[in-house]
């Protein structure tokens, strides 16, 4: 029963969010088409559209599956089921991660494929695009952690806003770090120490966000 209930809760969120996620994937395909076929202006537009879509998808999934259950009063329905707090937390993280990370992985693979195979696009851009895509993923896990811990729309929006502000700082920083900036136009992929440190930091943020979520939930005494 214990494993089965987690699976049921994940399927429920998949079912309820299937249409919006497909919509975002459709937008992602448009964005990939711009990246794959457009000139410089269209390529930049494709980048902006891709970043916007991924941030919006992350926020939509978290708001709908976590904050929405509190606001729409469907949480009492879920908690009437034979589910413990720990199982609920696992189900929420797994449903969110599979919905968002699945779409993110598909689109990230598309972006990487275009950078690697579109003639005229320098392979060196892989470093920048990977750092950016991982940042969006890490930022998503922070938003998810805040949403699960607080179940509050206001705090979740604060997390999204802070994540977006930091994204701008990251972009500014990357364009001013010589060891990364110098590789953009390179025909080959160069993973310098700084770039690897940034990637490691992004993975550390993801792990910390997940650990925080479980630790916080375990200490909660009131769940409804």
């Amino acid at each position: 029963m214990s494993d089965a209930i987690v699976g049921r809760l994940i399927s429920k969120d998949w079912y309820l969010l299937r249409r919006p996620v497909l919509g975002y994937l459709g937008g992602g395909v448009v964005s990939l088409a711009l990246l794959a076929t457009g000139g410089e202006a269209m390529f930049n537009m494709g980048c902006i559209l891709m970043i916007t879509l991924l941030i919006a998808l992350g926020m939509h999934v978290v708001m709908a599956t976590v904050v929405g259950e509190r606001i729409e009063h469907t949480l009492p329905f879920v908690m009437s089921l034979p589910v413990s707090i720990a199982q609920y937390t696992v189900a929420k993280i797994a449903a969110n991660a599979s919905l968002f990370v699945g779409a993110w992985a598909l689109l990230a693979a598309g972006v990487s494929g275009i950078v690697l195979f579109r003639p005229g696009v320098p392979h060196g851009l892989i470093v920048l695009s990977t750092i950016m895509l991982l940042y969006i993923l890490a930022s998503y896990f922070v938003v998810l952690a805040v949403a699960i811990a607080t179940e509050a729309m206001a705090w979740t929006i604060v997390a999204v806003v802070v994540g977006n502000i930091c994204l701008n700082f990251l972009m500014y920083g990357l364009s001013h770090v010589p060891s990364i900036q110098s590789t953009y136009a390179s025909a080959r992929i160069v993973w310098g120490a700084t770039a690897l440190e940034v990637v490691a930091g992004e993975f550390a943020v993801m792990i910390a966000a997940l650990a925080f979520t479980f630790a916080f939930q375990a200490r909660k005494s009131d769940f409804l």
Binding site: M1, S2, A4, H73, F77, S80, L81
Partner: protein, 299 residues
């Protein structure tokens, strides 16, 4: 643990900055329907959330269907059906989807019974929740709770917010659904009329404390309102069980908890003339209990 008890609270407390649930002792034997009555903010929902293991009590112990709570909340909830006034179903999904979802979780789901309840509640399985009225949503939630065949049904103000017609429909449907069942029900409400219709046991809660609890019939038997003519110069003695006395001229009205012939004897011995002995409704009893307790606390 007494195996006959479906719910047992012993000395349960929970403190919030502006509210305290204090020393809750409560027993609900298997097969009984308990009406849990209290005003808004009395502590009904907090008590129910502790019962379901969704709020951890600061002190005391809770056992539900033999499971210590909240330690075994998932195991206990396999046999609990819960419907609350603030519970909503998923707007974009149909009733049929909800039924399939619950069926996939509860092995005891009774499809035939669910179909019967659909008809009785006048619901259509292909309706999306978005298009349902509040009364229909409550009925759909009840259907989902009842058809899983729970040993314990916990209802937290299910009739609150319904118009009188929908309230009567829901209550009638609930009474019909419960009539042939050997099911334990914990029914919270601020509406004493609803509780009086379906419960066989009563508990009153006020400001976080259980004021009184017991068998409903014994409750109703115990309370009386005695109307007296008290001639000038006659002073009524202190009579055990009299919780309130109101007077208008010579007419005195005594509210008595634990009524017996000795009350009448004492009144008559003092020189008063008994005009009438009236039974009291559950609402009148509730108000008398609460006001009496508040007077005691204030004193």
């Amino acid at each position: 643990m007494n195996d006959e008890l479906a719910v047992r609270f012993e000395g349960v407390g929970k403190t919030y900055p502006h509210f305290r649930l204090d020393g809750i002792d409560l027993e609900l034997p298997t097969g009984h329907i308990m009406g849990f009555i209290g005003a808004n903010g009395a502590g009904k929902s907090t008590t129910i959330r502790i019962l379901l293991g969704l709020i951890r009590q600061d002190c005391g112990s809770v056992r539900v269907l033999g499971h210590p709570m909240p330690a075994q909340l998932a195991a206990a909830k396999r046999d609990i059906g819960f419907v609350s006034e603030d519970m909503r179903l998923y707007k974009g999904a149909t009733i049929a989807w909800h039924m399939a979802f619950i069926r996939s979780i509860f092995p005891k789901w009774d499809e035939a019974y669910a179909g019967e309840l659909l008809k009785r509640f006048d619901l259509r399985a292909d309706q999306t929740v978005k298009g349902l009225s509040h009364g229909q949503r409550v009925k759909a939630a009840l259907l989902l709770a009842l058809a899983r065949r729970p040993k314990l049904l916990v209802l937290d103000e299910p009739t609150t917010g319904l118009d009188p017609v929908a309230r009567q429909e829901v209550l009638g449907a609930l009474i019909e659904a419960l009539v042939d069942e050997d099911r334990t029900v914990f029914f919270s409400s601020q509406n004493t009329f609803d509780v009086e219709q379906i419960s066989d046991r009563i508990a009153f809660i006020d400001r976080g404390r259980i004021v009184d609890s017991g068998d409903k019939e014994r409750f109703l038997d115990r309370w009386r309102r005695v109307r007296l003519d008290v001639p000038d110069g006659v002073r009524l003695p202190v009579i055990p069980g009299v919780v309130d006395t109101s007077a208008g001229g010579r007419i005195h009205v005594l509210t008595v908890n634990g009524f017996g012939p000795d009350v009448i004897t004492a009144c008559q011995a003092a020189g008063a003339v008994v005009h009438a002995i009236d039974t009291m409704t559950l609402e009148e009893i509730f108000l008398a209990e609460v006001n009496n307790r508040r007077k005691d606390v204030a004193a």
